[in-house]
């Protein structure tokens, strides 16, 4: 069973993939809740436009999304040069860039899931909390948030899964640099491009399946745990 033993380079790719996915998921969560809230409850000019922009990565070819990110966040791009001049943050060809690409790709899935659960919240409960003395912020923290938790968890898992599988936008934006931006998917792709790489590709494929299954089971478990607490009246 020697062929099952992972090499250091492969471990690095797995480790990197997990780190990128977790960072992408956690960093996009506050924005995801905010945008989902705005789309579900807000009444403002340009709401359809915001909705369109959020969903764009779902419809566009990932390579196009990656290229747009490269134009915007590349060292010479308008956002990228601003970030590097003022904050010293460089995203292009770094793992942080890969996290950004994954976050953008997973964002529509996260927002959709959270938005649906916000729309399902009985607003009369929030009204009741208001009459009991809770300010709007407290109402959100103590009533709305606990009630949308299943949707938030589902959105997080979807975003994580999307990040684990993301390939096109990442490779276009931050390339495929071993140890820096070479994720699990990119590593498998690289293995398939060299003669005799099949075994390596197979090993990483098994790892990918295990991680995906674990994420799925974790989400089921958490949804059941939360669901037991929140039974709709």
């Amino acid at each position: 069973m020697d062929w099952l033993v992972l090499s250091d380079a492969e471990w690095t790719a797995i480790h990197l993939s997990l780190r990128i996915s977790v960072v992408a998921m956690l960093a996009s969560l506050p924005f995801g809740i905010l945008v989902a809230m705005a789309l579900a409850r807000g009444r403002f000019w340009g709401k359809s436009l915001l909705n369109g922009i959020v969903h764009l990565p779902l419809i566009l070819p990932p390579v196009v999304t990656g290229f747009i990110l490269l134009i915007l966040f590349g060292r010479r791009g308008p956002v990228g040069s601003f970030l590097s001049d003022w904050f010293g943050i460089v995203l292009s060809f770094r793992w942080t860039g890969a996290a950004l690409a994954c976050a953008v790709m997973g964002f529509p899935l996260m927002v959709r899931s959270i938005r649906l659960s916000i729309e399902a919240v009985d607003r009369r409960l929030e009204e009741a909390a208001g009459t009991l003395g809770a300010s709007p912020l407290w109402v959100f923290a103590t009533v709305t948030l606990p009630l949308i938790l299943p949707g938030v968890i589902a959105g997080m898992i979807l975003s994580f899964a999307k990040a684990m599988g993301e390939f096109g936008a990442t490779i276009t934006f931050v390339s495929n640099i071993p140890g820096e931006t070479q994720t699990l998917s990119a590593a498998i792709y690289t293995f398939t491009q060299v003669p005799g790489g099949d075994l390596g590709a197979m090993r990483l494929t098994i790892v990918a399946i295990v991680i995906s299954m674990a994420a799925l089971l974790a989400s089921e478990f958490m949804a059941r745990l939360v669901g037991r607490r929140i039974e709709v009246e």
């Binding site: 009459t131 003395g133 300010s135 607490r229 039974e231």
Partner: protein, 357 residues
Amino acid sequence: MSLIVEARHRLGRFSLDAGFTSQCGVTALFGRSGSGKTSLLRIIAGLTAPDEGRVSLDGDVLVDTAAGRFVPCHRRRFGYVFQEARLFPHLTVRKNLGYGRWFSPKAARGDDLARIVDLLGIEALLERRPSNLSGGEKQRVAIGRALLSDPRLLLMDEPLAALDEERKAEILPYLERLRDETSVPIVYVSHSVAEVARLADHVVVLEAGKIRATGSAADILGDASVSIAAERRETGALLEGTIRSIDDSNGLTTVVLKTASLLIPGHHDIGRRVRVHIPARDVLLATARPEGISALNILEGTVAGLKAGSGETMDVSVDCGGDVIQSRITRFSTERLGLKIGSPVYAIVKTVAFERP
């Protein structure tokens, strides 16, 4: 306590233009559905901002559109009991009850959990979740939750409307205790004469968004012309009395009014003041004392007033030694019995006609 409300508000084709002042005790906002009772209550609570108007409690101005003042709902400390209980499904009953405490100022925390839980009889429910409570239990918890937020004023929007008769009968005694045992003034919205009769001290009648009458409960509910605002069938007399004795074997209670006494169903504590509402359509009149009749209450009196109702009916008030009972009979019967003001009559009321449980 003095609550002053004055509001003008448009909601689509419905327009509300109403104002009233209320002192302590229970004030009922009374009227048919769609008369604007709930809209007015929401304006008092701060859930709706009126187009124009003023709301103040004991000189504390909460809304004054002329001065651009509007205190948001969560800073008013007005408890609100909705038609549906609106309990938080993710919290246990105990945490639901405690929710308002987080936000009420420490100094104002008067009522303790144990006392309210006892008052409403919800000890056994504390660790349960709202999803497995019955409708009546939920509503009791909702009332407790509102009380425990230390409200300066308690607003109740038809808290019994969503419940069946049995559940209503289960909660009404708790509401009576609430009125008698807590000092919080209550504004109670209802379209049921029976509820208003039992609970209210002061009644404000609303019709099509306007105030139609205000006054004490006995005056308003006894006035047949006002009761058009509710279901006409429910007109009747509202009398106050004291429980004198109980007949446990038959499940009956004797109430002494000013002079007359009545047998009503149910078990009540001796010495308690109660109100009984006798629907006018359930009162028979006879010119001679009837014999061999199942009705248990036969009251001797004289005709004090005759008022033609709509169509073929006649509303007759009978003075039975100070207690005035209303009877609704046909005009034909009035002529047949030759009833005139001052004629001696017997008013007959079946015990089961009383709306007390």
